[in-house]
Subunit: 354 residues, 2 copies
């Protein structure tokens, strides 16, 4: 070992999900939106004065923050914007989780939570979901250094009723509770109104799913101004200028087009319903989805076998080789055509499976 | 104090430099390039298929990494890309500076170094520059947890000869030495060739200055593959997808246009020479600049007075109210017209100053 190696931060290298890029593939593996962003986004990029790129962007990201505040009926000092919700969550972990007591989150949830804890040396303790993948709210009534919950959860797609969420927040007023609502627009009610009642609640959302902009990297957090200021203080201490000019302009434009946003979501929900029925007919079952994906298991064929078979046909879904969920596939809701291709292939495959 | 406040990370809120946005202002305060990015950048944005924004970008940023590797005659595994050199440096600090011994850097240098140390709880110890703002290389021959040096330095614009830099690296083979070369393209020789000789050297550069793309947020680091892998491991543990699709495409296009890059730099160097002569005639002096700015002090009028007078005329330069440098102005080299306006105003102001 070279002497300088001993001071390198040890992390378990997180392996990002596969991003295949084949012609005619059906890409249902990373919960992207199958439809393009709002039409105004293309126009904004085409009309952009590229000369302005020589100048630093606005460090306060005012244009986009104001547009989000307007959309959600908040004040601008209640909104924080970052480079995707991963950036927002990472900043929130670094800002709020500095207790010697462990941070709590479910055993089955977004796989980044333990990664951020390990990176920033935050102690944590996972709480088991019940046998139906539901949160056991009583498990969060114990001393802790903070709580993070994804609702709807990933990769289960299950939405926990707001009463369950509020019960957890109400029992944990001494710590920050982060609610990761990446998928909230596809079903369920947001906990956003609760930020007026609980000053320790931070609600995090993203442009990557319901706004079709995973490629632009925009996420945001909403909470009381004191929380938002604390996050901005940390952000300004890492990198004052995180959002580039294209992301700020395109993001603001996307928020303005409310009709497109709602239509896009309804279209995906409709395709989700169709897919649920078709897959049920083929012997699949899944927790009720409130997201843009299904978490499906088959009554005969192991998930891993189906995953491999799909992959060979350039149909990409996500498989997690992890305890309790290793017989499930996470299948993003794509276009109607994507889902027809998936169902047709699975029909043939299941019929011929011995 | 609310109970949850005690776990919020305490940082001295870094205040980003002012970003005025007035018509007809002369903006010489944040070392931006006065000329637009390479013409191909505009074309890339106009031609971009906005439908692709629904998909996550390539987490490995291969297109841009490969283009930089090609430009610098490196292998791709020797290049790390991030959201501006601030992001790259912050990741480097978090990755490499994990020793109980203090990190060393000059007392007068880029103001973000102590901010990152405070944020990540890295001990540090500043080493005084000599009375001419030069590095005293012997000060770095002592036990430490790593070294970071800006060359050319900011805000002095002074370039330290490569022999000085190499001497420091050679005396510190047990720790990582980070060389922040944000301004290297405007003068002086890069330490890049030394990465083949010293596996503990990381060279950091940016698109914000010589490539006219501060608004796009692109920075990069070059070093041995083990260092680059360690940084990518940490990056993937924070946010796998940091660079959005527009930044990757536009960045790669900018690197390809070598002629534009060189012409842009030569134009700024020419204007710098003109400005140096004009300001000298007015009673200013400055360390020899190898950057796209001057660090100027006047033989009669206090810097703060000049700063305020310029500001009232919508000519923005940077003033640091800090020990040893509080009688200096950092003046970015703008267009020839910008500098003529500056000089004309100063001429009148100085003539009438009592």
């Amino acid at each position: 070992m070279k002497p300088w190696e001993k001071n390198i931060r040890k992390v378990v290298p997180y392996v990002p999900g596969e991003q295949p890029n084949k012609k005619d593939m059906v890409k249902l593996n990373t919960n992207e939106n199958p439809y393009p962003p709002a039409p105004g986004v293309e126009k904004v990029l085409k009309d952009m004065d590229s000369d302005t790129l020589r100048l630093y962007p606005d460090p306060t990201i005012k244009l986009l923050v104001d547009e989000l505040a307007h959309f959600y009926h908040l004040n601008s000092d209640q909104v924080f914007v970052g480079v995707g919700s991963d950036d927002v969550l990472a900043v929130a972990f670094l800002t709020f989780f500095n207790s010697p007591s462990p941070v709590l989150f479910p055993d089955i949830t977004y796989s980044f939570y333990p990664v951020w804890c390990d990176l920033y040396r935050i102690p944590y303790e996972v709480q088991a979901l019940d046998e139906n993948f539901c949160i056991v709210k009583e498990d969060y009534n114990k001393p802790n250094g903070g709580i993070v919950i994804a609702n709807p959860n990933a990769p289960t797609a299950l939405y926990a009723d707001l009463s369950v969420i509020e019960d957890i927040i109400a029992h944990n007023k001494d710590v920050i509770v982060i609610l990761d609502e990446a998928y909230i627009d596809f079903g369920g009610a947001s906990a956003l109104p609760l930020i007026e009642k609980y000053d320790n609640l931070l609600v995090v959302q993203t442009f990557s799913k319901s706004r079709s902009m995973a490629g632009m990297r925009i996420g945001y957090a909403m909470g009381n101004p004191e929380l938002i200021k604390a996050m901005n203080d940390v952000k300004y201490s890492i990198n004052s200028y995180t959002m580039n000019r294209t992301a700020i302009l395109a993001g603001a434009e996307a928020v303005r087009d409310v009709t497109y946003f709602n239509d896009n979501i309804q279209r995906i929900i409709k395709t989700r319903t169709w897919t649920e029925e078709a897959l049920t007919d083929l012997g699949f079952s899944f927790p009720k989805s409130s997201a843009n994906f299904l978490f499906a298991t088959h009554n005969k064929i192991p998930a891993k076998v189906i995953f491999q078979a799909l992959r060979e046909r350039d149909i990409y879904v996500r498989y997690f080789n992890a305890p309790r969920i290793d017989n499930y596939l996470r299948i993003t809701i794509g276009t109607e055509e994507d889902m027809r291709k998936l169902v047709e292939f699975l029909k043939g495959f299941i019929e011929n499976y011995k």
